[in-house]
């Protein structure tokens, strides 16, 4: 699968960093487990498999630990003192490598500059049709990566209300490069997330999905129309990384879930989305596109009543 390959490539990209941080993250397990246990739905703590609840140590009041911001169990700095990796055993956030900045700059000029402007501040060169181009300064690498890798950017049209998901126009490395360049203009979080789905709690993910996601994307993840011509996109075929990026950055009309979801909860939601929403197990038969009673009513009336009326035609007529 592409998605797994991309994740592997990303892992290789920062491979050395992972190796160095394994020990650190293992040591920090107890503290982080306590932090995540606190924010989890209480029902999950009653399972026999859940780790014992640990009272979290007092934290500085200004930030929630392991919730997508730089205050994390694991912090890794480079020789220049720049934060390159943060996160924990559930999600690690990587800074795109500086080596890609020149490539990214060239790609930006080629693909993005016409609308977002030379300074990436949303002011295009005079004479460009359209208006309201977003300022890209200081949004964090995850934002740039999400928009490019989900195929929404570079946009096919500058007038459409909401850019739809599509095949990516730039490859993974190009997206990383552009992210590196834009982030170099004003470094910010969130970095590029890498979710470790191993050992994810699907039950927690399902509960969090119902709480936070279903109101817009529907409980089956099929998406629906929002106000005016905006829409909550379908969550089918969204790679794990992009689900995490969307949660942490809040693209377009989507709220930002930084601070609201811990990294452990993020992992659970991503696991639920990629395992169950994108690959629904429909033990009862054809899933009817997740349209719920609309599709069911259609089948019930057309196939059920309609077919039976046709049968009744055969049964009843004798002339």
């Amino acid at each position: 699968m592409d998605q797994t390959r991309a994740q592997r490539r990303r892992a290789l990209l920062a491979g050395s960093l992972i190796g160095a941080t394994v020990v650190l993250s293992t040591l920090s397990f107890a503290a982080s487990a306590g932090a995540q246990g606190h924010g989890t739905h209480r029902a999950t703590t009653t399972t026999t498999t859940a780790p014992p609840r640990i009272i979290p140590p007092p934290r500085p009041p200004y930030l929630r630990a392991n919730a997508g911001m730089a205050f994390s169990t694991l912090l890794q700095f480079n020789s220049k003192g720049q934060l390159v990796v943060y996160g924990n055993r559930y999600v690690k956030y990587y800074l795109p490598p500086d080596a890609l900045i020149p490539i990214g700059e060239a790609l930006y000029a080629q693909n993005c500059q016409a609308c977002h402007g030379v300074l990436a501040n949303g002011v295009p060169p005079p004479g460009t049709p359209g208006k309201g181009f977003p300022n890209l300064i200081g949004l964090g690498p995850a934002t740039y990566d999400f928009w490019i890798e989900s195929g929404r950017m570079p946009a096919a049209s500058t007038t459409v209300t909401q850019a739809p998901r599509g095949p990516a126009k730039l490859n993974h490395m190009q997206a990383i490069a552009i992210s590196a360049y834009l982030n170099s203009l004003q470094p910010a979080t969130p970095y590029l997330p890498y979710v470790n789905l191993k050992g994810a709690d699907l039950s927690d993910g399902a509960a969090l999905f119902a709480l936070n996601c279903a109101a817009c994307h529907t409980i089956t993840g099929d998406g629906d129309a929002l106000a005016y011509k905006t829409f909550a996109p379908s969550m089918r075929n969204v790679p794990a990384t992009q689900v995490a990026e969307a949660l942490r950055t809040g693209p377009a009309n989507m709220p930002v879930f930084t601070g609201n979801l811990t990294d452990r909860q993020l992992r659970d939601v991503v696991a639920y989305v990629t395992e169950r929403i994108e690959h629904p197990q429909n033990p009862g038969g054809i899933g009817l596109g997740g349209l719920g009673p609309v599709g069911e009513g259609f089948i019930g009336l057309a196939l059920g009543v309609g077919l039976l009326a046709l049968l009744g035609f055969w049964v009843g007529d004798r002339t």
Binding site: L63, A214, C216, L226, T230, N253, P255, V256, N260, V315
Partner: protein, 314 residues
């Protein structure tokens, strides 16, 4: 079916029909062919039912149960229908209608029985009849108490008030107090409760609040509301003022709350005024403040009932 003489197309009553009568002949021109088809249907149905038994016994996938049962039923049913349709007397037969109403004599006899035998004795004993009617009347009124009144408590002021008080901490559904610094602009906490009531189902239905940190600030009109949303934190009752669905759909860029049930739209930055759809009233706003330790707390209650409208609502 059409090779029978024309007079057999006229309906006959059932009486004189005999086995020589064309009406009694099988409807099909080639009954033996049909019989073979029906036999095949019944045999296939038998096999399908046996397969259903096997599927149940062996606990195969759920769809195999329905497929075998359904196939068996449809096959046997089709065979049975074909039997009746093609192999049984072709008819048509006729039956007379009888006059539905009674003759005047019958009506008169009935009336006499009713009035002479029944009503007159009652009319002569007015006291007994009146007392009996009175007793039954009292019973039917009294019966309303167990039937209706005992069904639930009087509503009282449960619809009018919530559990939000001055200084209530905002907590999420796990009971964790919310800290202003944890939420960046564009964040939303979809379900927030007053501390101590996050597990109470009935309180959840009236108290629940959606907390939004909006980018647009200072758009609220003048008056006390200016201080209700510190640092852009807007807390609105999550119960739609239309039909009470949780208004959980927040559009960050449009700064709109939308009810997923009937698509009422509320302008978050302007007191959640309904801008579209059937909702009649703004979502009640919870006045917030951030205390010295950075926790989000309520200045007071909503000051009005949450949720859909009702008669006693002022």
């Amino acid at each position: 079916m059409t090779d029978l003489p024309e007079e057999s197309r006229t309906p006959v009553s059932l009486t004189p029909a005999s086995w020589n009568d064309p009406h009694m002949q099988p409807a099909s021109a080639h009954p033996e062919h049909v019989e073979r088809v029906i036999a095949a249907l019944f045999a296939a149905g038998l096999v399908a039912f046996a397969a259903f038994g096997a599927a149940y016994w062996q606990n195969w996938a759920p769809w195999t149960l329905g497929a075998t049962l359904g196939a068996g039923m449809v096959l046997v049913g089709a065979g049975l229908t074909a039997w009746g349709k093609y192999l049984m007397p072709r008819g048509p037969f006729v039956e007379d209608r009888h006059v539905l109403g009674s003759t005047p004599e019958e009506v008169e006899a009935f009336n006499n029985a009713l009035v002479e035998r029944g009503a007159t004795p009652v009319r002569r004993r007015k006291l007994l009849g009146g007392l009996l009617a009175g007793g039954l009347g009292v019973f039917s009124i009294v019966a309303l108490f167990p039937l209706v009144r005992s069904m639930g408590p009087l509503p009282g002021n449960t619809l009018q008030t919530t559990n939000w008080r001055r200084g209530s901490y905002l907590v999420d559904r796990a009971g964790r107090r919310l800290r202003a610094s944890e939420y960046g602009v564009g964040s939303v906490v979809s379900s927030v409760f007053p501390e101590g009531f996050e597990d109470d189902e009935e309180a959840q239905a009236t108290d629940v609040v959606i907390l939004i940190r909006a980018a647009k600030q200072g758009l609220q009109t003048s008056g006390p509301r200016q201080t209700w949303a510190p640092a852009g934190f807007y807390a609105y009752s999550k119960m739609c003022t239309h039909a009470g669905c949780p208004v959980g759909l927040y559009e960050r860029e449009a700064v709109l709350l939308i009810c997923p049930c009937h698509q009422s739209m509320f302008d978050v930055a302007d007191g959640a005024i309904p801008v579209f759809g059937p909702a009649p009233r703004p979502l009640p706003q919870l006045p917030l403040y951030i205390d010295a330790r950075g926790f989000l707390r309520s200045q007071s209650g909503f000051g009005q009932p949450t949720g859909p409208g009702f008669w006693e609502r002022a």
